[in-house]
């Protein structure tokens, strides 16, 4: 009985962990690599959920073609945001970026509230609801699908960065922008592409999780905070770190909520971040030993 409960908590924690990792992926690129402390990350996630709701219930697309359409739209959006806003404050330290993205997030939340209102919107899921049982452990089908798609997205983003020309250009640019532009890389485009990719990943996770929970205009703040926690736990700019950070946070929260107290679950992540930065400031899995 106790073991069953333990396994159930563990499963819940792993599922939540994958979701956390997924929603933090975009931030791994934008905050971890580009060093833009992006407070609009949660709003990109939220926009993904809301546009996902729009394309599935108004345009009547099925879940996966909706996902593709949202990806294209949000990539274009991210590209424009970088080109018109972020580019103007690049290389001025983190402060203007923080303010700019705070302004952007206030604007996006309230513009969305003006257009669609505060009510939660359910994104039509890929499959019907219903639990699956593995021995004593219950998981809903939707969650399993979401975990699967999430892993596919993580793998896809990893391949883009490791195996493509664009990915090589990205890595070069973030190592040394000056040398990269001397070598003929259009760094402006690389920054915009990275931002667009980060924005797309955030939006896709928003749509995916919007089919499990719901999409809501005001969800962004919480997502931003949790994603920062995950990125710092895992180490800046590392995908493997984001996954590990997400899993760590998910499992820690599940056990804390299950065994200690449900009220203070959200404290866990922040306490973990404070401890990590005190004792291992480069994050748990960062390759570069960078002093915070």
């Amino acid at each position: 009985m106790d073991l069953d409960l333990f396994l159930q908590f563990l499963t819940n924690g792993v599922v939540m962990g994958v979701f956390y990792a997924l929603s933090a992926l975009g931030l791994t690129l934008i905050f971890g690599l580009m060093r833009v402390v992006n407070f609009a990350h949660g709003e990109f996630y939220m926009l993904g959920g809301v546009t996902g709701w729009f394309v599935t219930s108004y345009l009547g697309l099925d879940f996966f073609s909706g996902l593709a359409l949202v990806a294209v739209a949000m990539a274009a959006f991210g590209w424009l945001v970088d080109r018109f806003l972020i580019e103007r404050v690049r290389g001025q330290g983190e402060e203007p970026g923080i303010l700019l993205t705070i302004g952007l997030s206030i604007f996006l939340v309230n513009a969305t509230l003006l257009v669609v209102g505060p009510a939660p919107m359910k994104v039509a899921g890929a499959v019907a609801e219903g639990p699956l049982f593995f021995g004593p452990i219950a998981v809903t089908k939707l969650r399993l699908i979401a975990v699967g798609v999430g892993i596919a997205l993580i793998a896809g983003a990893h391949l883009i960065i490791r195996k493509t020309r664009l990915g090589a250009a990205m890595r070069a640019t973030f190592q040394d922008p000056m040398a990269a532009s001397l070598a003929g890389i259009r760094t402006g485009n690389v920054y915009a592409a990275t931002f667009a990719l980060g924005c797309t990943l955030a939006a896709l996770s928003g749509m995916l999780l919007g089919s499990i929970y719901s999409a809501q205009a005001s969800v962004g703040g919480l997502i931003s905070l949790k994603s920062f926690v995950v990125v710092i736990l895992g180490g800046m700019g590392s995908f493997a770190g984001a996954i590990a950070g997400g899993l760590l946070l998910g499992i820690a929260e599940a056990f804390w909520g299950g065994y200690v107290a449900t009220g203070m679950v959200d404290v866990v992540g922040f306490v973990l971040v404070i401890l990590i930065l005190l004792f291992r400031p480069q994050g748990l899995f960062s390759i570069r030993a960078e002093r915070a």
Partner: protein
């Protein structure tokens, strides 16, 4: 320095005349809020403008002060002249503890960890029902029968004067100058014997103390304190004030506080559009006024100061 001092004194004197000229309670309320925010912006500016690290957790000190004053007043029945200074002191203790951890970090890490501390305090305030009464908050904080906003206005004006005096003395002290040196170039400052951590700590604790004073006043003025005092929107308002006015100047945050308080009130008539426009304004300020209003004014003065000089030179030649 003298110009700065005179402008600050003129501002306080002009503010002191306000209740004599205006009897409308609503306008006085706006005045009280503007001064309350002026204290907060001044205290945040000590960290953002003079230490040069971007704190997103300043609400921790506002909230600590507000809860301290609320608890001392409702549980122990202490009067206002005792609760507000104690709120500042307790908040300064929080500043010491949080600063000891966060000031070792820099850049984005400092930003996120200060924010984490504020969030932790908010969640604790939300859940520690025995002390904080949870999300219901602490209501009915004693106002000592003060019903006229004019009286509150003079109290907050007194606190503003204290805050500006302390900030002025700090900024123009050796420690303040050392902090600016660290902000401009950490390694050069260290090489001439400045201790970056120590100077940053003094600014941080003073900032926490002032924010605590503001929090204590807020508790008595609103007569209610809930976990919202730790929330991000308060933080955003403070930051916008400091940056719009111009960080690293003493006049800037005050100008920012007055402008933003009035702007928020004016835009309130537009209901849903208000915050949408607010977001756009924030972006516009970052892009077009990167050093705030004071930076803009300083730039204009430099340009005007540069123009007459060649003319004087030509005159000399003709003579």
């Amino acid at each position: 320095m003298t110009l700065e001092r005179n402008v600050l004194l003129a501002f306080l004197a002009a503010a002191a005349l306000l209740p004599a000229l205006v009897t409308d309670q609503y306008l006085l309320h706006l005045g009280v809020m503007a001064l309350f925010y002026a204290i907060l912006a001044t205290s945040l500016n000590l960290v953002v403008g003079y230490v040069g690290e971007f704190s997103l957790g300043h609400t921790a000190f506002l909230g600590a002060g507000a809860y301290t004053a609320a608890l001392l007043s409702t549980q122990l029945g202490l009067p206002m002249w005792a609760t507000i200074p104690l709120a500042g002191l307790i908040s300064a203790l929080f500043g010491f503890g949080i600063g000891a951890i966060t000031l070792r970090l820099q850049g984005p890490y400092f930003v996120i960890v200060t924010l984490s501390f504020a969030e932790v305090l908010r969640i604790v305030a939300n859940n520690w029902i025995a002390v904080t009464n949870g999300p219901m908050g602490l209501a009915g904080i004693d106002q000592f029968g003060i019903t006229n906003k004019g009286t509150f206005f003079y109290i907050v004006l007194g606190l503003t004067a204290v805050a500006l005096y302390l900030a002025f003395r700090f900024v123009h002290s050796n420690t303040g100058r050392a902090a600016v040196a660290v902000r401009e170039n950490r390694y050069v400052a260290q090489s001439i014997g400045v201790d970056p951590f120590g100077t940053a700590m003094q600014a941080f604790v003073l900032g926490a103390f002032l924010a605590g004073l503001a929090g204590g006043f807020y508790a008595h003025y609103i007569s209610f304190v809930g976990p919202e005092v730790f929330r991000f929107p308060f933080m955003v308002t403070m930051i916008i004030m400091v940056l719009l006015g111009g960080k690293g100047t003493l006049i800037g945050p005050i100008a920012g506080a007055v402008i933003v308080t009035l702007l928020e009130e004016y835009l309130r008539e537009m209901q849903e559009l208000r915050l949408t426009l607010f977001g756009l304004i924030v972006m516009a300020v970052v892009l077009f006024l990167p050093n705030g209003l004071m930076g803009f004014i300083a730039q204009r003065r430099e340009q005007q100061g540069a123009k007459p000089a060649p003319r004087a030179a030509t005159k000399e030649r003709t003579v």
